[in-house]
Amino acid sequence: MTAMEELFIRTKAENRAALIGYIPAGFPSKAACIEVIKAMVAGGVDAVEIGFPYSDPVMDGPVIQAAAEQSLSAGTGAEDVFDVLKATTDLGVPGLVMTYWNPIEKYGVEKFAQSLQAAGGSGVITPDLTIEESGLWKSAAEAAQINRIYVVAPSTSTARMPLVTSQCSGFIYAASLMGVTGTRNSVSNGASELVARIRQTSATPVAVGLGVSTKAQAQEVAAYADGVIVGSAFIRLIQESENFETGLLRVQELAAALADGVRR
């Protein structure tokens, strides 16, 4: 059982949702990224999703694009991603990597799964790997005993839903709306409906991402989902704060507010 799976057992027993924070590895720098993760965890984030910055992130909105670009221009590569992951799991929280498919293929599919496991990682979220193309990844992830997390969208048809959810382990990533990552004023109504449709096909925990940024939104989502994923809101605090120290404080404050929210 991965640390991520253990987390969901624990949060379920505590009758709350898990809070998952996201940050691209190497943003705003490799060392500072680890500081941000520490601030998230100090505030109450239960698990951290580390982004592998990619040159062509079609699922990401402007905030994460800018963060990834900054990280890439500093030369962030696979080993940096695993270093940040290791630093995260050393804090005692489950760590995941979110990456577009090409960097995995370039690194070597089996080797990627093994390196992730060696860094204490629980699994990988693959936003552009369709289940039809996932054969190699399935065997590699199973051999390394790590979770495979796929994204399900509001447009996923009823017929297709079980084909995707049956391939997920750890949790199922429910995209709350049709669109890219980024904060929104409200969480789409479609999210609760989507989670209900997912639950008809699978008992695997469901975490909701895209557009969640406030305590009230976290509370709303925690009412029907097992996990709440927040990314752009944290990154924006770092981008917009007058200095990094202030940014860290704000990240910790937001994490604490969201952690309060997921406790319903």
Binding site: D56, V58, N102, P103, D128, A153, S157, V180
Partner: protein
């Protein structure tokens, strides 16, 4: 409106692979739209009424069939072989792009969608898309790298005159690759109302197959025309390759004609060795970009590397998966042509035949010079080369004038 019906489910089983290439690497949110599009394309292919409507537009709007022009004075510089030009440059809007655009615009209407989005590099596909949108009463948004909107300001004006909205893309390298990213983001967000009218044979299934099906008319016409003119099949068929739509369009009908060499000419920029090029098959490696597995220009971490070419239309770090497959099985050959070689051929065709080609097509012309000389020195000076003159050079006058030092 075709949606989530039986056809759509069946279509989702077809993965669109060419050997180990192709497939779908996209956000799950797009799968349903790609399934609908696959189903709509399949049903349109089998619908005589759709085919009649498209054929009517080809004849009365585009000006098809495009003619074949023999280029004897140019051929003197290519070992004296016979060179036949398939004149896609004479199509309405000035290139082969219109063939695909009219097909997909009709499909958009068939799917009940009212809005098209498109990416463009040089602006040819954007202009063709804006044209089809005007013709069919569709809303049209074109994404274009900010860098390209400056290099191709004339085409930006053309698109605006045609009623399209042009959105300059300021992310990443601000060129075609980033315009595609931004179009994909728009599509993920607005997929219910919007069709992504992709301009080349790349992207996730069904785009490589569908765009090929709309472009294969080039080779079908040309094969008949060459047979009629010469009484035999050509010895080789040549075309330039960026994403690869004009090349697959002229190659496809000849794939089973094993005596016919298929030769794709990639943009070698300042030379493949220099690292400043867009020769994806010659100088790239296998990877996934923009939803498909093919050859990609990438670094050791799988990050896309910027491409370089004097030709904006070939300046793309990916290539269609069917070309990757034809390369892998050895059915087609791919070579790189440098900027300098292409500009030499550009000038030569202009001065020997009175035809100013697009700089894209000039890469194929430079390839013809090399191949013609090779064939002649092997004793085959009676060889016939069929070349896809995919576009005209009006849009390139400024670039060419700068290159040759002509004062405007």
């Amino acid at each position: 409106m075709v949606s989530n019906n039986v056809d759509s489910e069946a279509a989702s089983q077809i993965l669109g692979h060419f050997g180990r290439f192709g497939g779908r690497f996209v956000p799950e949110a797009l799968i349903s739209a790609l399934d609908d599009l696959t189903a709509a394309h399949l049903s349109a292919q089998n619908d005589p009424e759709f085919q009649r409507e498209l054929a009517y537009l080809h004849r009365t709007y585009t000006g098809r069939p495009s003619i074949i022009t023999e280029a004897p004075r140019f051929a003197e510089h290519a070992g004296g072989v016979r060179i036949l030009l398939k004149r896609e440059d004479l199509n309405h809007t000035g290139s082969h792009k219109i063939n695909n655009v009219l097909g997909q615009a009709l499909l958009t209407k068939r799917m009940g969608k009212k809005r098209i989005i498109a990416e463009t590099g040089a602006g040819q596909h954007g202009v063709a898309s804006a044209t089809a949108a005007a013709l069919m009463g569709l809303e049209c948004v074109v994404y274009m790298g900010e860098e390209d909107t400056r290099r191709q300001s004339l085409n930006v004006a053309r698109m605006k005159l045609l009623g399209a909205e042009v959105i300059p893309v300021t992310q990443g390298s601000r060129t075609l690759k980033d315009a595609i990213n931004e179009a994909m983001r728009d599509w993920v967000t607005n997929v219910d109302s919007t069709h992504y009218l992709m301009g080349t044979v790349a992207g996730p299934h069904p785009f490589p197959t569908m765009v090929r099906d709309f472009q294969k008319i080039i080779g079908e016409e040309a094969r008949e025309q060459v047979l009629e003119l010469t009484g035999k099949l050509p010895d080789a068929v040549l075309a330039c390759i960026g994403g690869g739509s004009n090349a697959i369009g002229i190659f496809h009908r000849f794939i089973d004609d094993h005596s016919v060499r298929l030769i794709g000419l990639e943009a070698g920029g300042r030379g493949v060795q220099s690292g400043f090029h867009a020769a994806t098959i010659t100088g790239g490696s296998v990877g996934v970009l923009h939803g498909t597995r093919s050859f990609v220009l990438q670094d050791g971490n799988g990050q896309t590397v910027e491409s370089h070419s004097i030709s904006a239309g070939l300046d793309y770090p990916g290539v269609g998966p069917e070309h990757a497959y034809l390369h892998e099985i050895g059915r087609a050959e791919y070579r790189a042509i440098t900027d300098a070689e292409a500009m030499n051929a550009f000038s030569l065709l202009s001065k020997t035949e009175g035809i100013i080609p697009a700089i894209e097509s000039a890469h194929a012309l430079a390839g013809a010079i090399d191949i013609g000389k090779e064939l002649a020195s092997a004793g085959h000076s009676d060889a016939v080369l069929l070349l896809n003159l995919s576009g005209r050079g009006d849009k390139d006058v400024q670039t060419a004038a700068e290159y040759f030092g002509i004062t405007l």
